[in-house]
Amino acid sequence: MENPKSISPEILGLFGTIRQQAHEYNRAFEHFQKESLEFARQNSQLQSLVRDSERRSADTILQLNSAVSTALLEIQQKAESIEGLYNELNTIHELKSSLEKLYLSFEERNAELSFVIDSIKSLVQKQVDKEFSKSEKRVEIAMSQMSNQIVSHDQRIWGLQDQQRRSHSLLSDEIDNFKSKVTETKFIVDETTRIVETMIDKAEREMDDKIRKVKTEIENQATQVKLSIEANNRPDTGSDNFESQKQRLLALNNQISTLESKYSALLWSTCIFGLIILGILAAVVFNVF
């Protein structure tokens, strides 16, 4: 619409300003409405947050109550233990003060004892020095005596060694001489044993021949006696012949026994003879050695 002529420009300007202000108010109201809606939305969010926070705070309060109660119990227990520790600490302090007193008395005693020990030590040192000087003198005298004795013993040992050396040389000469004699003696012993063995063998052979002859003779006589006994057992033989044969058999038995005793005596004599010869040889050998 064009500017109306029925209204003055001042009024039109007034209407324009009022229209402009109305538009401004409209925009402001729209803005306020948006802001109020935003506020309402935020208010609802805040309400929900408040409810959530109230619920959480209630839960937290319960948890805090339980935690505080447990913590209080722990603190009470710890306080009791700390009280016990303080009591022990008091006893420790008492013990410490008593120990300090004891330490002071001990230090006094220690000083007295150290003084006594020092005095004893000086006395002992003096005595020890005296005894050491005495013993050193004694030891020096003993050492000089020992050295003199060692010198005399050395001289004796040298003399003994010289004598031993000479006796060793003599003994070695005798051993050499004896070695030369041993071979000769061994030859003589061997020859003697050989001769004795031949003699014994000869005697044994002779004895064996004699015994064999006697044995054959006895056997022949025994066969003759048996034949005569058989003949006497016949009906035509007399009792006188039997008696004579019996006496002959007894005589033969006596001869056999005497021969056996002679043989055993001969054996004993040869053995004794051999032993005597061996003893002679042993004596010769031992005399030589």
Partner: protein, 102 residues
């Protein structure tokens, strides 16, 4: 958005009305307004209707605005009274906010 669409609709309606009015014959009230005697006529013969019938009042106001050749102080007074009523309603409406702000 809503206000922009309303403005477009109002403009379209006024253009249509203007086109129709341009084609339609002039009314008795328009001729009175061109002769600068419409307000006096309304006050003399149709004062009750002009005061109580809002549709008629608005229609007469439009005729006065569009067809009067000069300034009509009484019409301005009427308009300023309407403005005062609207502003007083507005002030009354926004009073709680002002008191809250204070």
């Amino acid at each position: 958005m809503e206000t922009e669409s309303e403005d477009i609709h109002v403009n379209h309606r006024s253009f249509t009305k203007a086109a129709i009015q341009g084609l339609a014959p002039r009314t008795f009230y328009q001729e009175l307004a061109q002769e600068n005697s419409l307000y006096g006529f309304l006050q003399t013969y149709l004062a009750q209707t002009f005061e109580n019938d809002e549709k008629f009042r608005n229609e007469m106001m439009n005729v006065l605005l569009e067809h009067s050749p000069g300034v009509i102080p009484e019409f301005e007074t009427e308009l300023l009274q309407d403005l005062c009523e609207s502003l007083s309603y507005f002030l009354e409406y926004t009073k709680p906010w002002k008191t809250q702000n204070q």
